[in-house]
Structure formats: C-alpha cells, structure tokens
Symmetry: C2
Subunit: 107 residues, 2 copies
DNA sequence: CTAATCAATAACCATCGAGTTATGGATCGC
DNA sequence: GCGATCCATAACTCGATGGTTATTGATTAG
C-alpha cells in the first residue's frame, strides 16, 4: 500500500498534528476541548487535524452526547514500521553483497 | 531531538523525495543524472529534493569530477524508529495499566 | 581551445495546506 | 423551552513548497 504510506507520512509531517497524536498515545482518550486546550491553535484547527489523523487511521472517534472523544490507534503505524525496516533491509542486503564481494575478491 | 524528528518527517512526506530515497536504499550510489532519469521531474527539482534529504541527514554526497554521487544514510532513520516505538510504548503501558486496573476490580 | 555535459542556483509561478473568524447543528443544564 | 456549550463546517488568507525554465560554474572530451 504505497497510498497508505503517503497518507501516513503526510499526516505525521505536521508538528501540531504529531503533538496531538502523541498526546493521545500518552494520555489516552481525549475530548476535542481537552486537546484544544493544549494544542496552541483554535478549536476548528484541532478538528481539522483530527480529521486528517482519522483519514490516516491513526485515531478513532467516539461520540458521547455533545462531545467527541478521540483515541490513538497505534496499529496504524505498522506501514511506517514496515517501510522503515524495508529501507534498512535494502541497505543491509547491499552491504552484505559488498561483504561477499570483498570476501570473494580477497581470495 | 524533536527538531530532528520534524525535519525527518517533513523530508519523507513528499512522495517524489521518498522515491528518491528508496531508490538510493535499494540500488546504492547514484548520480544526479541517474536519479533524474527515473524521478519524473526535472534535474533542478531532483537537486532540490536531494538538498532537503541531505539537510535531514538521509543522504550523503560525494563529488567526482563534474558529477555528484548521492548515497542513502539509513542510520538517519533512527529517530523515526525511536519515535514510533515510543508511541507504541505509551499505548502499551496504558493498556497494561488498564489490565492491572481490571484485574484489581475483578477481586 | 572549444564545445558539450553535469549539477547547482536563481527567479518565478501555482498550488496546497495550516491557520483564522464566523456560523450552524446538536445536546445538555436549568 | 432557552441559553449555553461542544464540535464540525464554511469561507477566506497567507506563507510554504514543489514544480518549471534559464543560467552559470565546473569539468571533461575532442
């Protein structure tokens, strides 16, 4: 899913958005008002950020009366982990190839 | 280093830039011309992307005559890995707390 | 020496995105 | 019911950014 990776990376690229996600990971369930209180931006801005995070699958929302609770969905980070280890893996394997090559040249 | 994370996430947020980095991870050392041939954008655009990746520490450049070779520096991904596992960790620990709490309530 | 190639920079343009204020639609407290 | 509160959406602004073409400096080839 290259599309998924794109959405993920883009969602996490913004510092305000990343801070909101971090907060949800640390402290769990939060209402929009609670998040807004610490976000340093207006409530509509927070709502928009939450929308982006939700599209990326990073958060879930739960409606309770007139307030909406959001919670982190860290499983959504999986593609990011996969991508990262894949990049490291490619590098590693090329390094191994180099090792083999050097060893062969050594004989 | 929250600054570092920011630079990293932003550098990897752009698909063209991520593709360049992926290519360098897969295939190793590449000249700007070689990267441009596959990038789907102009040479100056590629140079700019390489500049951003370099600022993030994700690539290194090596000058050889009139051409510049770039190579991936996957160690620079470390802060990204740290951040990710930290987020997963926070979530996990809260989950553990919940487990404990539930067990206590169970008695 | 001259022409050609490579990559970086300059200058510019268009789009995107993060922020704002204003507003509306639900829901709760009284 | 009525005013207040919570959150989402609309409409807009503005700076950042990704793209382009043009150019220049450096190096190589002939």
């Amino acid at each position: 899913m290259p599309q998924t990776q794109d959405v993920l990376f883009r969602a996490l690229a913004d510092p305000t958005r990343r801070a909101i996600f971090e907060r949800l990971c640390r402290d769990g369930d939060q209402t929009v008002a609670a998040l807004t209180a610490r976000a340093g931006v207006s409530q509509p801005a927070v709502s928009k950020h939450l929308g982006v995070l939700k599209q990326a699958g990073l958060v879930r929302d739960r409606h309770a009366g007139r307030q909406t609770h959001y919670s982190a969905q860290p499983k959504a980070l999986a593609p990011l982990i996969d991508w990262t280890s894949q990049m490291a893996g490619f590098w590693q394997s090329r390094f191994d190839d180099l090792e083999v090559l050097l060893k062969r040249m050594d004989q």
